[in-house]
């Protein structure tokens, strides 16, 4: 196009030179008859019409042609300018503008051609041509280097060709589809129309080819898809199954095609799925995401279920409805989501907060809530160290500076919980990785160390306590290491060995042992270490001796214990200086020996006394009775055999002698009874006191044969006692009761027990009684409250009663009033005398 233009310009110039030589006669004939005017001082120049000889046909041919050219040329730049302005992306837009100018120039020269037919303004025309030439040359020069660049751009032709091809493909596909449908219809027809078979085969072959081509292309796209694409027909039979689907469902397309799509659905979804597809078909919507109602799941051929995301589209073609489902396996995404959720939960459980640099809390986990008691809504937005009343180990500014420089800060501080209690917290602060457009935030991980702190504190306390105990112990405490070198020595040990801890530490323990013991001691400690026994007394009492730094030896008692501290064995020896104790023990032993000797002596004396007493009672019973019997015997013989030769006076004397000897016999017998109580042990047996009392009452019958006696015998208990002795008690008491009630016309004698717990037995009479002022003499041996003329007696009976009762561990006492009877009470010790047997027997043995 440019070349054409250049050529044209050249021709114009050539025509200009011709014009100079030609008259402009024809001009007037053709024009409006305007007079020729000189132009730019060349009056001899004639209008160009002259060159045409004013031939009107030529003139008008030029005029019309040039005018049309000029008009056209003027239109082109306008279009170009509009084009350039509208197409901002246009490359090299300035060249279009230059074209515009160049064409404008061309247009103007043509206009000037018209004008110069009538007016010889060749100078002006030339100038304009020159300008146009300049622009043309520049444009040409600029254009040349642009050509290769411009060639690189796709040409309009290429684009349109591409477009055309695309259109072609679309048309072809449509055509193929049409052809397919047609073919199908034909095929249907062909089933009944064998005549058309030959044509059909030819046609279908063609159609197949077209179709195959189109399908191949489509298949390429479908197979390259990342998502599984499955097309099913109205009967849910799979008609298309892409490669991604094969992988996803682990089922080859060959196997899948023609089968029901249900096989890829978990059983529980199948029914719902059918109805969903039916509904979708009814709506007529072409495309829709699936699974609005619930998370979707699919089933792999191997039975594994997995979560999916799916969309469905429907196409109706040739009266057949096809559903295409695009499926994406989201197991991995689910897994990642779950991981993220887990991580979030873990984070939430841990005691973490996220805060701005100024302390404003942005994240407050459940863990933090549990630790401090502040709910999320209370914590969020609060300033962390104000909320938790933080006590920092150093100033906040220092911590912040540390955070800024190193990015982390780790330390221990004190927080206050919502309930006001203080917690010790180990905190790790981490500054967040910088994110553009946001000030870095700080993550704080808190660990409650209160329990640990407390444990540490209690450990310190207990250490202090132990130290206190060791320091204040009365015993010497020495700890030694495996080499038996002293590592600890308490004040008591310093005192015991007369050294200071400073001198002793690091020395061997055996410096505190007399030399002769040292070697054996080493062996003992080593032996002890091997046993693994934790504590043991050392040697036997008195055989261990210590050595003071003064050289003095002393006896000591020691125990040793071992424990492992930090991998090294430590022996602790506790020592006690027993010099004093030894001395005291010796003294006690001497005293004991002396005491024993004295006890032996005393026992021997007592035994002698006992033997003498026995001999005495034996002789009383044996030797004293014989003379009495002799006196009585011979007196009787004298009275019997020589009565007639005796005076009445002599007979009375003999009677007196007999009475005396009788009394003497009774006295001796009663004395023997009394001593026998003391000399014999108790023979305890279960005894019915009622039986004893009845026996005694019967036995005493001769004493009250001719008297009126009323016996009131109450119910008595069953007791453990020596029945022989207790019978003696009743015998003496009842005998007394009979004796002292003799003056009464009717004696009333009552035996019973009181209602107290001690089972006190009483014997009551209505006799003469006695004055209570002599009550203390009642139970004394040979003590009598009545004269013998009034009431016979020896004064031994009640003494015997008391002795028997006391021997049973019981008590006896009396209540009486002169002339108003007497009551004697006795008990046989607790629980009827059962518990009294032992001490009573012992007492008996001593007597």
């Amino acid at each position: 196009m440019n070349a054409q233009m250049g050529e044209h310009s050249h021709r114009l110039g050539g025509r200009g030179s011709c014009a100079n030589a030609r008259p402009s006669a024809a001009w007037g004939a053709v024009g409006s008859g305007l007079p020729a005017i000189p132009c730019f001082g060349f009056p001899q120049l004639v209008p160009h019409g002259y060159c045409y000889l004013w031939n009107p046909w030529i003139v008008w041919l030029h005029v019309v042609s040039d005018s049309l050219i000029a008009l056209s040329y003027f239109c082109i730049p306008i279009a170009l300018v509009y084009f350039v302005r509208r197409r901002k992306d246009l490359p090299f837009d300035w060249i279009f503008l230059m074209f515009g100018l160049f064409i404008l120039g061309g247009g103007t020269t043509h206009l000037m051609e018209v004008w110069t037919i009538w007016r010889p303004v060749y100078v002006l025309s030339g100038v304009i041509k020159a300008l146009t030439a300049a622009i043309s040359v520049v444009t040409a020069l600029v254009l040349i280097p642009l050509v290769p660049k411009a060639l690189a751009l796709p040409s309009q032709a290429q684009i349109s060709e591409l477009n055309q091809r695309l259109q072609g493909q679309i048309a072809e596909r449509e055509h193929a589809k049409e052809a397919l449908q047609q073919t199908l219809r034909q095929a249907e027809r062909a089933m009944s129309d064998a005549a058309g078979q030959r044509i059909l085969v030819a046609e279908s072959r063609y159609v197949e080819e077209v179709l195959q081509e189109s399908q191949d292309r489509l298949q390429g796209i479908i197979d390259a898809a990342m998502d599984a694409i499955i097309t099913i027909d109205e009967k849910h039979t799979i008609v298309m199954f892409n490669r991604a689907a094969e992988e996803m469902f682990r089922c080859s397309a060959k196997e899948a095609l023609g089968t029901q799509v249900h096989r890829f659905l978990p059983v529980r979804f199948r029914a719902a799925h059918s109805s969903h597809i039916r509904n979708f078909a009814d709506t007529g919507t072409t495309n829709r995401a699936m699974g609005a109602l619930e998370p979707l799941c699919a089933l792999r051929a191997d039975g594994q279920e997995f979560p999916i995301e799916a969309s469905i589209s429907q196409v109706e073609s040739a009266g057949r409805r096809l559903f295409t489902v695009i499926i994406r396996d989201i197991s991995e995404r689910r897994m990642i989501e779950e991981q993220l959720r887990d991580q979030a939960q873990i984070l939430d459980m841990s005691q973490v907060m996220l805060r701005e640099k100024d302390g404003r809390i942005l994240l407050w986990t459940a863990g933090a809530k549990k630790m401090y008691g502040f709910a999320r809504e209370e914590a969020l937005g609060a300033i962390s160290h104000e909320l938790l009343k933080t006590k920092f180990p150093k100033t906040l500014t220092e911590i912040e500076r540390h955070l800024e420089t190193s990015g982390t800060w780790e330390g221990e501080l004190t927080h206050q919980k919502k309930d006001g209690t203080e917690v010790f917290v180990a905190v790790l602060m981490v500054v967040e990785q910088p994110v553009p457009g946001r000030a870095p935030r700080i993550l704080e991980v808190m660990t409650d160390t209160t329990a640990r702190k407390r444990a540490e504190q209690s450990l310190r306390d207990s250490q202090a306590r132990f130290t206190g105990i060791i320091e204040s112990a009365m015993d010497a405490i020495v700890a030694i290491d495996n080499d038996q070198r002293i590592v600890l020595l308490n004040p008591a040990a310093e005192k015991m060995f007369c050294v200071t801890a400073g001198e002793a530490l690091g020395q061997r323990l055996d410096r505190f042992l007399p030399e002769r013991y040292r070697e054996a001691h080493h062996g003992h400690v080593k032996q002890f270490a091997r046993t693994g026994v934790t504590t043991r007394a050392m040697a036997t009492l008195g055989s261990v001796r210590g050595l003071r730094s003064t050289g003095e030896e002393f006896p000591l008692e020691a125990s040793i214990s071992q424990l492992e501290v930090g991998g090294t064995k430590l022996f602790t020896v506790i020592l006690r200086d027993i010099s004093e104790r030894k001395r005291a023990e010796d003294e006690i032993r001497e005293l004991n020996e002396d005491l024993e000797r004295r006890v032996e002596e005393r026992t021997a004396q007592l035994q002698l006394v006992n033997r003498e007493l026995e001999a005495f009672t034996y002789s009383v019973s044996h030797d004293l009775r014989a003379p009495i019997r002799h006196i009585d015997g011979f007196t009787k013989l004298l009275v019997e055999e020589s009565a007639e030769s005796l005076t009445p006076e002599a007979q009375r004397y003999l009677h007196r002698i007999q009475e005396g000897s009788h009394r003497m016999g009774v006295l001796v017998d009663e004395l023997l009874d009394l001593t026998r109580v003391g000399r014999h042990g108790l023979r305890m047996e279960a005894t019915d006191l009622n039986v004893l009392v009845r026996q005694v009452v019967t036995m005493l019958q001769p004493e009250y044969e001719n008297r009126k006696v009323e016996w009131k015998l109450g119910e008595l208990p069953q007791v453990m006692c020596d029945s022989t002795l207790v019978r003696q008690v009743f015998q003496n008491l009842l005998s007394n009761a009979l004796k002292y009630s003799r003056p009464r016309p009717q004696a009333v004698i009552e035996v019973g027990k009181t209602s107290d717990q001690e089972q006190t037995v009483f014997v009551r009479d209505n006799g003469v009684g006695f004055s209570m002022k002599y009550a203390d003499k009642l139970f004394g041996v040979f003590q009598r409250l009545h004269r013998v003329e009034e009431f016979e007696g020896t004064g031994i009976g009640l003494a015997t009663v008391q002795r028997i009762i006391q021997k049973h561990g019981g008590r006896v006492w009396a209540e009486a009033e002169l002339d108003h009877g007497a009551t004697f009470y006795f008990t046989l010790g607790r629980a009827g005398g059962t518990q009294t047997s032992a001490p009573a027997a012992a007492k008996g043995a001593m007597a």
Binding site: Y618, S621, H622, D623, R625, A626, I628, R629, H630, D632, G633, F634, T635, K636, L637, S661, H662, M664, G665, V668, D669, L672, H680
Partner: protein, 155 residues
């Protein structure tokens, strides 16, 4: 056989000997009473030793009344010897003593005494007791004819 003694009375007290003998004679309970004054004499008499070595030893007393408290050899020892010898153990031995000691009583029975009597202080009672003992052992009770005795008489 006039020398046969019905009763051997072992009693150191002359008074007691006289009283007992008086009662036994009065009641006609014994023709011959030999009285020994101590344990030694009693044993010599029973075993025909010492002063009684000439005595015929097949002549055993029908009853021995034995006091316990005796000079030289005491009554318990006499009892043991008599009761431990097969020849003499059949002789009824009645302990008659003033002792009221239970120890003596128990010992006596353990050693084979046939009876134990405490001499009452009252003479009337004493008389009754001696009479009953004599009657019982010499009249009422059937004495065994011991084999040793028979053998001894045969010899």
């Amino acid at each position: 056989m006039n020398s046969e003694y019905d009763i051997l009375l072992v009693e150191d007290s002359e008074e007691d000997r006289e009283l007992a003998t008086h009662v036994l004679r009065k009641e006609k309970l014994a023709n011959q009473i030999f009285t020994a004054r101590d344990g030694e004499e009693a044993l010599d008499f029973v075993f025909c030793t010492g002063p009684f070595s000439e005595r015929r030893c097949d002549q055993l007393p029908k009853l021995i009344l034995l006091d316990l408290k005796l000079p030289k050899v005491d009554g318990i020892e006499v009892l043991r010897k008599i009761k431990s010898d097969p020849r003499t153990k059949v002789i009824p031995v009645v302990i008659m003593t003033s002792s009221r000691e239970e120890r003596d009583l128990v010992n006596g029975y353990h050693l084979g005494a046939n009876s134990y009597i405490q001499k009452p202080v009252d003479f009337q009672q004493f008389r009754e007791v001696v009479k009953q003992v004599g009657l019982y052992w010499l009249v009422t009770n059937q004495a065994p004819v011991s084999e040793e005795h028979a053998a001894a008489s045969g010899a």
